[in-house]
Symmetry: C2
């Protein structure tokens, strides 16, 4: 049965994908405005289950790349996304029959909805991360056999670059400085795939999951606290079922270092009723959380800092000294936990010396959960 | 009548183009080895006069871009050049029928000879600068109506990037960081043009001119000093006829700052029999020379530092404290002196506050000439 993404879903999708952004991915708020405008103009977007996709469908990604701090000042446009996608269509000699998100976390979850609306194409209910990651190569598309290139990058001046590389990592390494030179905020299209390839490499149901998570945070049962509603939605989801309130407290220290196009840093949170300390390291996204030095969750499992009262996700760039927050951790898809996936987006890819341990092992007996 | 570039011409071409490199363009020595190997393997290269080119010829550039210091460690290959050119041929759906140099100064004068030999194609006796310039947009191709893009960039790992920009300056601005990310030494193909376009936009006879200049420096009449032989060859040439020995002396001060992919700096030379001082500013290429504060030559006219005894050109990166050198200045093609050309590659493009004055005005009455 075909589902639709309507105007009423956009805010929930934006909030849910901000959670799945795990601190990064760019604030989806501005993208959600574009998305509403596109749906208002072109009508709602059909959300197509991965299993309902034709094997010979032409599935194209529309994504944004850049520095989150620039993205909120230099707005994306659907026209820019179209320049990237249509340049890739021209290169491949075939037209998109469906759009897919590369990344369901952050801005990249809403931009493809706006673009699908403009094209009158269905959006596949799936993505390549099930969360946000800082690099273009950190996708299940890449891990499970879809080539990242040919890839196209478009800026707002009408310039288009195309890359053909021998690996997704090399595509990332070339796209990043190019995006910086193009103004630190660009549209791109990559990982062009057939329906058959999408079924093998994409993570199904993540767009619906983001909408369900956002709905729980924003509009659930009033008698239940937003954080508990969030935990309930996660526990009912396909991937994020091992969900924990890892810590609660007040931000007492914060370091950010913006270099090479990323924000590196750490956030220290002190418990309100205890002397316990949680420390979260991030590279755009939150990478690992330790409580009193003990590891509680680590990438690719999800770590998200949310407002203690409203459960609204707080992005890395919005963290502020003194904020009262809850740290929510939850499991990633099993497809991010395989040896080949961990080699691409596990702890070592972020310079973490700790090996990967599933959150349910680290927190399973935790009474806070 | 068809001329050939044979093994015997390569050293002369390399020396002549080192002179026309005006300090930059990369040392052609290593390129000359590749060139000799290619000619030894594939035979000599036909040098085709611009006037003999068919109007509907498909003329492709094969060029190198990068940091000269890296270029001498990470060798170019003809295969890499071929990846760039053939990707552009694929994009345009037509095959090269002739090869042209974008830049006759430095390394980019010999690489196209090697590539033309490998392809069995003629090399056009022309280029887009009549010298070397630090930026891709500083060509007569650009000034006189040929689009710089589509442009392709290839590295030694098999990665290829393609750019389509609204201006040659934007192509330069994107290609430079991309070249850095690809290892600071890449092959590229740009300014694809027809024979008709080449006749309108290229500077004819510059390959022959480089060979003649190199021959005069390396192998002329023994009774005449190399510097005087060089001046004689310049005065007999089509463009470089206003040629002057601007200064002679010893290098007493030298500043180099490598940033954003260029070498910026200045070289101070003290006269041997006088207290006069010459100061030369450079951005890869020498930009302006002043003697005791008085301007003697300025870009786009050519300023080259040569060994005082042998007249062998000294590149920016080979300048050394204590070297005894002569500073040779000569006129550029009139097509580099038009208002539209000066806007692209005149003094202001290099941050020089002085306006352009032809070298024959500045040095015409100079007894040293």
């Amino acid at each position: 049965m075909a589902k639709l993404i309507t105007l009423a879903d956009v805010d929930n999708l934006a909030t849910g994908s901000a959670f799945l952004g795990t601190g990064g991915g760019g604030d989806p708020y501005i993208g959600s405005l574009l998305c509403k405008e596109a749906i208002a103009t072109h009508g709602p977007v059909q959300l197509l289950g991965l299993e309902d996709l034709d094997d010979d469908a032409n599935v194209f990604c529309a994504a944004a790349m850049g520095a989150p701090t620039v993205m909120i000042e230099k707005l994306f446009s659907v026209e820019e996304a179209h320049r990237a996608v249509s340049a890739l269509e021209d290169r491949l000699g075939r037209r998109a029959t469906a759009i897919i998100s590369a990344e369901i976390g952050g801005l990249n979850s809403v931009m493809p909805v706006a673009y699908a609306a403009m094209r009158g194409l269905p959006l596949v209910d799936a993505d390549g991360m099930g969360r946000a990651f800082p690099s273009l190569n950190m996708t299940t598309f890449n891990v499970y056999g879809v080539s990242c290139t040919p890839m196209t990058i478009a800026d707002e001046h009408g310039n288009v670059a195309m890359l053909e590389t021998s690996s997704a990592k090399e595509a990332e390494d070339l796209a990043r400085p190019l995006a910086a030179a193009m103004g630190a905020s660009v549209s791109l299209s990559c990982y062009p795939m057939t329906g058959r390839q999408a079924k093998l490499a994409a993570l199904p149901d993540t767009v619906s999951a983001a909408i369900a998570i956002g709905t729980a945070i924003r509009a659930g049962e009033k008698a239940i606290s937003p954080v508990n509603r969030l935990l309930g939605a996660l526990r009912a989801s396909r991937y994020y079922g091992h969900a924990y309130r890892v810590f609660e407290g007040k931000i007492v220290d914060l370091h950010r270092d913006t270099s090479s196009g990323w924000v590196f840093g750490r956030c220290v949170i002190q418990g309100l009723q205890s002397s316990s300390i949680a420390e979260i390291g991030f590279q755009n996204e939150n990478i690992a959380v330790r409580v009193d030095g003990v590891l509680k969750a680590i990438v690719p499992d999800l770590i998200c800092i949310v407002d203690q009262e409203t459960a609204l996700p707080v992005t890395t760039e919005a963290l502020r000294y003194g904020q009262r927050v809850a740290v929510i951790g939850c499991s990633a898809s099993e497809r991010l936990r395989t040896p080949e996936a961990l080699a691409c987006m596990g702890p070592a890819a972020f310079g973490e010396s700790a090996g990967y341990v599933p959150i349910e092992t680290l927190c399973g007996a935790d009474p806070a959960g």
